[in-house]
C-alpha cells in the first residue's frame, strides 16, 4: 500500500502521468515518483485501480471446498480469522460511518464499515466471488472529481505578519486578496473589515473552490477592544445562511457552503509569550470555529527561541482553557488520538511564507534570500511550513470540514433552535406552513 499525497492510502496511485502534468502543482508528481519506488506498481496506464479481491477465507485456499469453508467460517470469530494485511486499505483515512453525510460535502464511508459488511456477508453467506462493495470508494471519488468541493479559510492577524503570502504559498497560487487589484500600500482600515476572495484551483482532476477570507484592520488600532466582534459576526452569519437553506422545504440539492472551515491565527514572533489580544481572540472564537494558530515570520527566531516560544504558547493556551484544532474532545479513536497528539505537540507551527523562488542545490526552491543565507520555506529544518501544509491540506482537510459541519454548526443550530423554540421553514414559494422540518 502506498500513501499518495493526494488521495491517501491507495493500492496504486490513480493519477496518470497526463493528469499529473495537467496539474499546476508540480510537487505532486515528485511525490508520485517517490512512491513508485516504494511499490513498483505501474503508474501510468491505469486510470482506476483494479478491483482487489476481498479477503475471504475461501480465496486463500485455491480450489478449496466451499462447504468446508462455510463450516470453518461459521465456527470461528469474525475478527480473528481475517488476516488484516490481506485486506486492502481504503482510499481515505478511516472515519466512523455513523455520522450522517451532509448534503453539500461528499462523504466517504469508513472502510471498517464497508469491510465489516463485507465480512459479515462473507461470514454469514459464502461469498461466491467478488461483489465489488469497496468500489464505492471509487464511485465517490469520481463524483467528487465531478462536483468538486469547497474550502473556506480565514486568516486573522495584525497587518504585515505575512498572512497573504502564506496562503499563496500554501495553495501555490495567487489566491489571496492582494493578488487581485488591491495594492500593498493601502492604509490600515479604521475598523475590522471582512474581505473574501474565491478561486477555483485544480489538481489531478479534482476541483476545489477555495475562498480566502481576510480580516484587515484586526489588531492594528490603538484601541483594539472587541475587534474580534466583526469576525465572530461574520462566522455566525455564514452558519445562519446555511441553516436557513437547510431548513427550507424545497432546498437545493447542494447547499453552497460558505461556512468558515478553518481559521489561521497569526501570532507575532515576539519570543516572549502570547499577547493579550491573541488570548482574547482565541477565547472568544475557539468554540465557534476551528482555530489553527501559527507563528508568523518565524525566521526571526533561532531554534532554541522557537522551541521555548512554542512551549510557552502551548502552556498559556492550556492555562486559559483555549482548545485549538484538532480539539482533544473530538478524537474518535486511538489512531486519531495518537495522530492528533503528535500534531498537538508540534503546534503552533512556526512558518515562513514566500512567493519567490531561488536556486539552491540545483533545484528551484521557495525561499527568502538574506545576506546570511537562504531561508527555505519547504525545508523542515528551517521552518514548519511543510508540516502545516501536510497537516492542513493533505491529511486533515476533510476533517476540518467535518468538524465545522458536525460540531460547530450543530452547536450553532441547536442554540438557534432552542432560542426560537423551533424555526419556521422558509419555503421558496413564500407559502406559510406550520409543518416543521425539524
Amino acid at each position: 500500500m502506498l500513501k499518495c499525497s493526494m488521495a491517501g492510502w491507495m493500492p496504486q496511485c490513480p493519477f496518470t502521468l497526463d493528469q499529473q502534468q495537467e496539474s499546476k502543482h508540480t510537487l505532486h508528481s515528485t511525490d508520485c515518483e517517490r512512491f513508485q519506488d516504494i511499490n513498483s506498481s505501474w503508474l501510468t496506464d491505469q486510470e482506476d485501480p483494479p478491483p482487489v479481491q476481498p479477503s475471504v477465507v475461501a480465496d486463500m485456499r485455491s480450489g478449496a471446498d466451499l462447504e468446508s469453508c462455510l463450516e470453518e467460517c461459521m465456527s470461528t470469530e469474525m475478527s480473528e480469522s481475517v488476516p488484516p494485511e490481506v485486506r486492502p486499505k481504503p482510499a481515505v483515512p478511516a472515519k466512523p460511518s455513523h455520522v450522517a453525510p451532509p448534503s453539500s460535502v461528499p462523504f466517504v464511508p469508513s472502510p471498517q464499515g464497508t469491510g465489516g459488511e463485507g465480512q459479515g456477508s462473507g461470514r454469514g453467506s459464502a461469498l461466491l466471488g467478488y461483489i465489488g462493495i469497496d468500489t464505492i470508494i471509487e464511485q465517490m471519488r469520481k463524483k467528487t472529481m465531478k462536483t468538486g468541493f469547497d474550502f473556506n479559510i480565514m486568516v486573522v492577524g495584525q497587518s504585515g505578519l505575512g498572512k497573504s503570502t502564506l496562503v499563496n504559498t500554501l495553495f501555490k497560487s495567487q489566491v489571496s486578496r492582494r493578488s487581485t487589484n488591491w495594492s500593498r500600500d493601502e492604509k490600515i482600515p479604521k475598523t475590522v473589515e471582512i474581505k473574501s476572495v474565491s478561486h477555483v484551483i485544480e489538481e489531478g482532476g479534482v476541483k476545489m473552490k477555495l475562498t480566502v477570507i481576510d480580516t484587515p484592520g484586526f489588531g492594528d488600532q490603538i484601541n483594539n477592544e472587541n475587534c474580534w466582534e466583526p469576525i465572530s459576526k461574520y462566522i455566525n452569519e455564514q452558519y445562519e445562511k446555511f441553516l436557513k437553506e437547510e431548513v427550507n422545504i424545497a432546498r437545493k440539492k447542494r447547499i453552497p457552503d460558505t461556512r468558515v472551515h478553518c481559521c489561521l491565527y497569526f501570532i507575532s514572533p515576539t519570543g516572549h509569550s502570547l499577547r493579550q489580544l491573541d488570548i482574547e481572540f482565541m477565547k472568544h472564537l475557539s468554540r465557534v470555529v476551528n482555530i489553527i494558530p501559527v507563528i508568523a515570520k518565524s525566521d526571526t527566531l533561532t531554534l532554541d527561541e522557537k522551541t521555548e516560544f512554542k512551549q510557552k504558547v502551548r502552556k498559556e493556551l492550556e492555562a486559559c482553557g483555549i482548545e485549538c484544532y484538532p480539539q482533544k474532545e473530538f478524537d474518535e479513536d486511538m489512531e486519531d488520538k495518537s495522530d492528533n497528539d503528535k500534531i498537538r505537540e508540534a503546534m503552533p507551527f512556526a512558518v515562513v511564507g514566500s512567493d519567490k523562488e531561488y536556486q539552491a542545490n540545483g533545484k528551484r526552491i521557495l525561499g527568502r534570500k538574506t545576506p546570511w543565507g537562504v531561508v527555505e520555506v519547504e525545508n523542515p529544518n528551517h521552518c514548519e511550513f511543510s508540516l502545516l501544509r501536510d497537516f492542513m491540506i493533505r491529511s486533515h482537510l476533510q476533517d476540518l470540514k467535518e468538524v465545522t459541519h458536525n460540531i460547530h454548526y450543530e452547536t450553532y443550530r441547536a442554540k438557534r433552535l432552542n432560542d426560537n423554540g423551533g424555526l419556521h421553514p422558509i419555503s421558496s414559494s413564500g407559502q406559510d406552513t406550520q409543518e416543521s422540518n425539524l
Partner: protein, 371 residues
C-alpha cells in the same frame, strides 16, 4: 596635538614669555583643561527605550553597552499581563573605559503597547519625562546647585516592529506626543527577518510617514565645513540610513573563524557587528561615539528650554489671574517638600516674581519695537 606636547608648549611659553607674549596667550589649552576636568568628573547619560514587548529592546541595550542589565528580569505571561499598566523602570550602571567614567541610566517602559486598549499608553512616559524636567527646574532654582542630579532623558530609542508595512497608529501617536520633549531616534527592530529589499522599502516608507505626520525626530547636526572629509562622508551615510535597522544579540557565535556577537540560524549566521547585515554599528557609533554629547546638548538647549519657557509662561499667566504667590511652580505630582525646602521655595518665589516682572517689561519692549 597631544596633551604632552601642549604641556610642553606651555612650558616653553613660561620660558619664552617675554617676546612670545604678544602672539600667544595660551587659552588654546582650554579644551584640554575641560577634558581633564570632565574625565575626573565623569559623564552621565540617560537613555530611554520604548516599544512593544518582544521587539528586542533589552537585547539591543545589552549589545550596545556590552553589559547584562537585565539579568534578573522576570517576564510575565499573558494572563498576568492582562491587568498590567505601563511602568517605568530604571537601571543604572557605571561603565569605565580608558579612564573615562560613564554613569549610564536606562529607562525602560514595560507594558507599552501590549494591552488590548492602548489609548494614551504613552501618558506615563510623558509624565515621567516632565517630572525629570520639573525636578531639574526646581534644583536649578534652588540654593545648592553644586551637585544637581541630571535625570533628564537625553535620548529615546523607539522600536518599530519590522512586521508591519510602516508606522502603525500607536507609533505615530507616541512619537507625536514625545517629539517635543525628548530626542527620538526611531529604530527598525529585529531586522533579521527582513531581506535587504524589504529593509529598504520599510525605511523609505517610515521616512515618508514621519515627514507626512510632522514628527520631529532627532536630526543629526550639520557638519562644519572644516571637518575632516572622512567625518563628512560618515555623517552623510548616517543620515541616509535612518531609521536604523538593528539586530541585537546576547550570545556569541563562531562565524568565519572568529567569535562574534550574533544569532545562529539553520540557514546562516547573522552577525550583529557586520555592516552588511544590519545598522547596529552605525547606531552605536552615532549614539556613543559621535553624537552622545550633542544629544545631551539638544536636550538641555531645546527640550528643557521649551519646557522651562512653557512653565514660566504658565506661571506668569497664572499670576496675572490671581495675585497670590502660593504654588507658582507647575502642578505635577511630586512628593511634598519639607519645611526647610518650603522656606527656600518662598524665597525663590520672590526671586521669580522679580524675574517675571522683568520678562514682562522685556516683552513689552519687544512689542513696542515691532510696532
Amino acid at each position: 596635538v597631544t596633551l604632552s606636547s601642549r604641556n610642553h608648549s606651555n612650558m616653553l611659553i613660561f620660558l619664552t614669555c617675554d617676546f612670545q607674549d604678544k602672539q600667544y596667550v595660551g587659552f588654546a589649552t582650554l579644551p584640554n583643561q575641560v577634558h581633564r576636568k570632565s574625565v575626573k568628573k565623569g559623564f552621565d547619560f540617560t537613555l530611554m527605550v520604548a516599544g512593544e514587548s518582544g521587539l528586542g529592546k533589552s537585547t539591543l541595550v545589552n549589545s550596545l553597552f556590552l553589559t547584562d542589565l537585565y539579568k534578573d528580569r522576570k517576564l510575565l505571561n499573558a494572563e498576568e499581563r492582562i491587568n498590567q499598566t505601563v511602568e517605568i523602570t530604571k537601571h543604572t550602571v557605571d561603565i569605565e573605559e580608558k579612564g573615562v567614567k560613564l554613569k549610564l541610566t536606562i529607562v525602560d517602559t514595560p507594558g507599552f503597547g501590549d494591552a488590548v486598549n492602548n489609548n494614551e499608553c504613552w501618558r506615563p512616559i510623558t509624565d515621567y519625562i516632565d517630572q525629570q524636567f520639573e525636578q531639574y527646574f526646581r534644583d536649578e532654582s534652588g540654593l545648592n546647585r553644586k551637585n544637581i542630579l541630571d535625570n533628564r532623558v537625553h535620548c529615546c530609542l523607539y522600536f518599530i516592529p519590522p512586521f508591519g508595512h510602516g508606522l502603525r497608529p500607536v507609533d505615530v501617536e507616541f512619537m507625536k506626543a514625545l517629539h517635543e520633549k525628548v530626542n527620538i531616534i526611531p529604530l527598525i527592530s529585529k531586522a533579521d527577518c527582513l531581506t535587504p529589499n524589504e529593509v529598504k522599502k520599510l525605511k523609505d516608507r517610515v521616512r515618508d510617514e514621519i515627514e507626512r505626520f510632522g514628527i520631529k525626530v532627532y536630526q543629526f547636526p550639520e557638519c562644519d565645513s572644516d571637518e575632516e572629509e572622512e567625518f563628512k562622508q560618515m555623517d552623510k551615510e548616517l543620515k541616509e540610513c535612518t531609521p536604523f535597522a538593528v539586530i541585537g544579540s546576547n550570545t556569541v557565535v563562531e562565524a568565519r573563524g572568529q567569535r562574534v556577537r550574533g544569532r545562529l540560524y539553520p540557514w546562516g549566521i547573522v552577525e550583529v557587528e557586520n555592516q552588511s547585515h544590519c545598522d547596529f554599528v552605525k547606531l552605536r557609533n552615532m549614539l556613543i561615539r559621535s553624537h552622545m554629547h550633542d544629544l545631551k546638548d539638544v536636550t538641555c538647549d531645546v527640550h528643557y528650554e521649551n519646557y522651562r519657557a512653557h512653565c514660566i509662561q504658565e506661571m506668569t499667566s497664572k499670576l496675572a489671574q490671581d495675585n497670590r504667590t502660593d504654588s507658582p511652580l507647575p502642578l505635577l505630582p511630586l512628593p511634598t517638600p519639607d519645611v526647610e525646602t518650603e522656606r527656600l521655595i518662598k524665597m525663590k518665589d520672590e526671586e521669580l516674581k522679580r524675574m517675571q516682572e522683568m520678562l514682562e517689561k522685556m516683552q513689552q519692549q519687544m512689542h513696542e519695537k515691532d510696532q
